[in-house]
């Protein structure tokens, strides 16, 4: 590697480290501060959007679950109503046969 010491010295001189321009420091620090602000705003907005999305999805899921629960409750009530109607008709029929021999007319 030391085949041409003069050339290497000249090369070191040609490429030697130089001082940075006077305004570079301020430029870098400003850019970092600005990016930090943007980044913190972006993080805040990302969090807000994520929270809003979570709330929306959660609310929708909860709404669907509640709707389903209510629908199942209605179906159960519907069936109970039919059972009670059926029971009442049977009771009336039984009562009429025992007490008054009357047959239920066919509707339709």
């Amino acid at each position: 590697m030391n085949e041409s010491p003069d050339l290497e010295l000249q090369l070191r001189e040609a490429l030697r480290e130089t001082s940075a321009p006077p305004l570079l420091r301020a430029r870098i620090l400003n850019a970092a501060a600005s990016r930090g602000r943007r980044s913190s705003h972006a993080v805040l907005w990302r969090r807000i959007v994520a929270l809003a999305a979570l709330l929306t999805i959660g609310s929708f899921g909860l709404y669907r679950w509640e709707q389903r629960r209510r629908a199942e409750a209605v179906a159960e009530q519907f069936k109970l109503a039919l059972r009670i109607a059926h029971r009442e008709v049977l009771e009336v029929q039984a009562k009429l046969v025992v007490e008054v021999p009357v047959q239920l007319p066919q509707t339709n």
Partner: protein, 187 residues
Amino acid sequence: MIKKQVFAVLLMSWLAAAAQEIDLRALKALEAKASETTDINLGPEQIKLMMGLGSELAPELQGLGKTVERVQVKTLQFDKEGAYTLAETEKLRESVMTGNLVSLISVKKKNGFTEIAMRKGPKGENAGFLIVNVEPTEIAVVSIVGQLDLSSLAKLSGKLGVPNIQMGPAETSKKKGSAKQEEEELF
């Protein structure tokens, strides 16, 4: 103009829905004395909600959901006789026996009465039925609005949790209450 039309349509549909609902306020005072009550009132909105379950519903229930508009059931059971007077139950009869009804059975006794009536639509078509059964220790009111009659109800035996008992004179010549006992055994 359009607003008025929309209002009129909304008002008419509200009135129609309200008209289908029977007035059970006469039972309000008796509820406190009852040992057991059942109260079901399903209107078009609830039935539509139920239909949202789609194929998860039993086929019979899907069919009924399409034709039945309102289901009202109120039952009161009392531990002892004499919890109510005939005058109170008469008030109930007056309040529920309204609309286009055709009486099928109307029996009065000294300690109660039974009314079974068919509902008729504007063109005389079947539009449901009403049952009011007042006994010494039980009051039951069942009102169905829609295309469900008593014979269709009978066909539901063995389905949807309805006990599998044939409705008809030969099958019903039993002592009073035996049907209920049989139903309870089946449940």
